[in-house]
Symmetry: C2
Subunit: 488 residues, 2 copies
């Protein structure tokens, strides 16, 4: 147990970094002259205070972190930051006479940081600018955090499909230290993410959004978060041009950011089109959009062009795990919303800001299934499993298998817990899927026009757990529960 | 292509054997003096005629069967026998003035032979004895067929978890010929099944069922089929004693019949309790029953003993994939029916007459997930995957992985097809699960008190496909779709 104290010390350092991000809503509050900035300053001070206590109080426990430390650290970061992110929400909402419970504030913070984008707040248009700025900025931080996590931390732990993420590494990295190459990659990803963000905000602004809206919707677009400052979500703008811009940036953010980084460094974009995961992701998103557009047209709900606009935008929005909406798509034929929600489980790449199972795992599973079928016909045939021009070794396939089981077990267990609270089946299963995939809007009571505030506190905590498990890709969290973890 | 003709010849031989089983409803019809026996005789003659044409018409194509032939044979048998089994249903129902469509008759036959036990027929109590005898006897044949299939055919093909079924074999059998040991095992299983059947019918009769009812319900109990000659299903008898007898035989039939056979031959029953799959199956069934009983009692729906009786009976009935009901459990808290339906996916053993994923696959998956979590913490730890005192090799784990993917893809694809017909989500997904698991009753419109006749013809064909895929354990069917199969 005591050898886990160094982890708390590093947590302190990360919390100090996190405290600085509160500067963004603080500045927004000052610019908008809301008079709410002291709340952000106080929240920042509290966070820095706790960080200082952890850092200096545990100074004697400085040590190099082992893989098991990394697992604990990642879990603690994701449990602790929403707590400190919830502080300013609690204080500001109290100050403006719309007090929130701790459950609601923590839920909103987890929803933000995990880039899920579910909300328990209503009347978003009437909220102070700084609150909406903080909600959407949390998503941007979360999206970045996932990139860094994917490249720098998870591979160290040998977890899940994330090894495959290192598109240029020759094989799984055995070293448990942060290598110079990884630091460089993380910096490169950071650069790509920032460049994407600038381009997105600029495009939104040039296409007609107010500057603040452009920044906030940029935050929730490139992170595939989906929060909006408007109750009508993206429908507020009623602009095909803005929808097209969102469409393009959502598509781009659903692919592996490392591919862009490598392409930029090599100065060649050709390798992008050879990446099997990217091709599959884009094919699933665009193909899915076409299917729904055809369905909407065939059922006579819209004229052809309108069907294409609505089908494409909503499939890409939901399936990339963003969750913007311009209409209540639960009124569509039942196939469409279910299809979109299920697609959100698979139609993003590893190393993107999206959630869910990730396309690379599905590709490995599909190839494995195909190999098994061939083996049933020709028992003596032995083929390696290839993805692109790389061979996928057995440990990777095993790891994907374990992930899928944990994913299935998580979805079913949490849904059954919600059923125990007598929530209806459609709402229960869709709430868990939309949370585990970090998508946001579900089905039943939780469609794009409704709000997670209809759930009880207990039900919200189940969804909060689902969002955290989904963002942590489950395994790293579950590893904490094994006896092996707590043995030295 | 032409090298597949020998398969059709063997199909002829199997159809001839199947034709003889029509003797049972024929005799029942004679005994009950219904005057319907000529229809059964005619159906038998037609089946024998087709069998003769295949056998003698293809006499020059006699050849030893290869694994790929076996896959095709199994699929053809499961497509062709329901066709001939539907013939007497069509003729007799026409004769009594309640004509059925071919879709309904084929659905009913597939539901019978796959031991699913869904029905499109209403007013069961008013049907001729011979019809109910044929419906339930089809289940008994199907249950037997699954045992023989599991032991004698599937292992030859190296398919799925069925290799594990050979509890006493040292390792997967590489030989593609039917070995003497396999014939012996198949005979042994046949013996155990018949002995179980006699004991069950005798127990039902002694406990108060009319002789015909005792025989018919024995047919659908030991096969875990669940069809009944009464609209009220098992609730018709309103007898705790009969429910207890059904409970015991359903539990027994949900375990691996090979274990009984081995125990009998060795004269020792101790090995039974050491089988990890049997222990897990019984624990899931009894534990699940207890959970539902507690829920029914806690929600104040029934007195404690009544809650225990109803909870235990229905969980075991649904989760063993039988599907008898004594009450409309859709009126229970929503957790209970969903839990029972999901449990039916896992709570039967390989080598039992039940359907679903089979417990042994779940055990392998769980152990694999646990191994992965340990590996995340201690990357250098390498442990073999053990089940009982046997080591599960990688190819087996891969095979389970492929099965799970195909299972998931089948459930989702067929459910989505049903959603395209605008069926509601709960009915669509539960219909597919109840069909793929060969359980029978679903949720929504398809509860234990309702009837699959509410579905359209197209929806029934989707369910028919789901039942066939579930019974064939999907992979063997899917293998037919690979290019490798059709290449020499
Ligand atoms: K989202
Ligand atoms: K059944």
């Amino acid at each position: 147990m005591s050898d886990l104290l160094p982890v708390l010390r590093v947590l302190g350092a990360l919390l100090a970094m996190f405290a600085l991000t509160l500067g963004v809503p603080l500045v927004a509050s000052l610019v908008a002259r809301e008079g709410l900035w002291p709340h952000y300053a106080l929240a920042m001070a509290v966070t820095l205070g706790v960080a200082a206590i952890l850092w200096w109080g545990l100074a004697e426990h400085q040590r190099e972190l082992l893989p098991r430390h990394g697992i604990l650290l990642v879990s603690l970061v994701w449990l602790a930051t929403p707590f400190f992110a919830a502080l300013p929400l609690l204080m500001v909402m109290q100050a403006i006479g719309r007090p929130m419970s701790f459950t609601h504030a923590y839920f909103e913070a987890v929803s933000g940081l995990t880039t899920t984008g579910s909300t328990v707040l209503a009347q978003l248009d009437a909220l102070p600018l700084s609150v909406n700025m903080w909600r959407t900025f949390m998503q941007w931080i979360g999206g970045m955090g996932i990139l860094i996590l994917a490249v720098a931390i998870l591979p160290l732990l040998g977890l899940g499909g994330s090894q495959l993420f290192k598109a240029e590494a020759a094989g799984p990295v055995k070293d448990t230290k942060l290598t110079p190459r990884m630091t460089e990659t993380a910096k490169g990803l950071w650069g790509v993410y920032v460049a994407f963000s600038l381009a997105c905000a600029l495009a939104y602004w040039l296409a007609g959004m107010a500057p603040a809206d452009a920044i906030m919707h940029m935050f929730s677009t490139v992170s595939l978060g989906g929060l909006s400052s408007h109750d009508a979500s993206f429908g507020f703008f009623a602009s095909p041009l803005l929808e097209t811009i969102a469409f393009v940036f959502m598509l781009a953010a659903s692919c592996n950011f490392a591919l862009y980084f490598i392409a930029l460094r090599k100065g060649s974009w050709r390798s992008l089109w050879h990446d099997p995961e990217m091709r599959a992701t884009l094919a699933a998103l665009l193909g899915g959009g076409l299917v729904v557009a055809l369905l909407l047209w065939a059922k006579g709900m819209y004229a052809p062009l309108e069907a294409l606009r609505l089908g494409m935008f909503h499939v890409v929005s939901v399936a990339t795990t963003t969750g913007y909406a311009t209409t209540d798509y639960l009124a569509w034929p039942v196939f469409a919303p279910v299809f979109m929600l299920l697609l959100s489980g698979v139609a993003t790449s590893a190393g993107s800001t999206g959630g869910g199972i990730k396309m690379v795992r599905m590709l490995i599973l599909l190839k494995q299934a195909r190999r098994e079928m061939t083996r049933a016909v020709h028992p003596r045939a032995v083929q390696p499993l290839r993805l692109g021009n790389r061979v996928v070794e057995s440990p990777m396939v095993f790891s994907v298998l374990a992930f899928m089981l944990m994913y299935g077990a998580t979805v079913i267990t949490l849904s059954m817990v919600l059923l125990l609270t007598d929530l209806d089946m459609v709402t229960a299963f869709s709430a868990v899927l939309a949370s585990v995939h970090c998508t946001g809007p579900g089905l039943g009571l939780l469609g794009p026009s409704s709000n997670y505030a209809v759930l009880t506190d207990f039900q919200l905590w189940v969804c909060t757990l689902a969002m955290l498990l989904g963002r942590l890709e489950i395994l790293s969290f579950m590893a904490l529960l094994t006896p092996a973890f707590w043995r030295r």
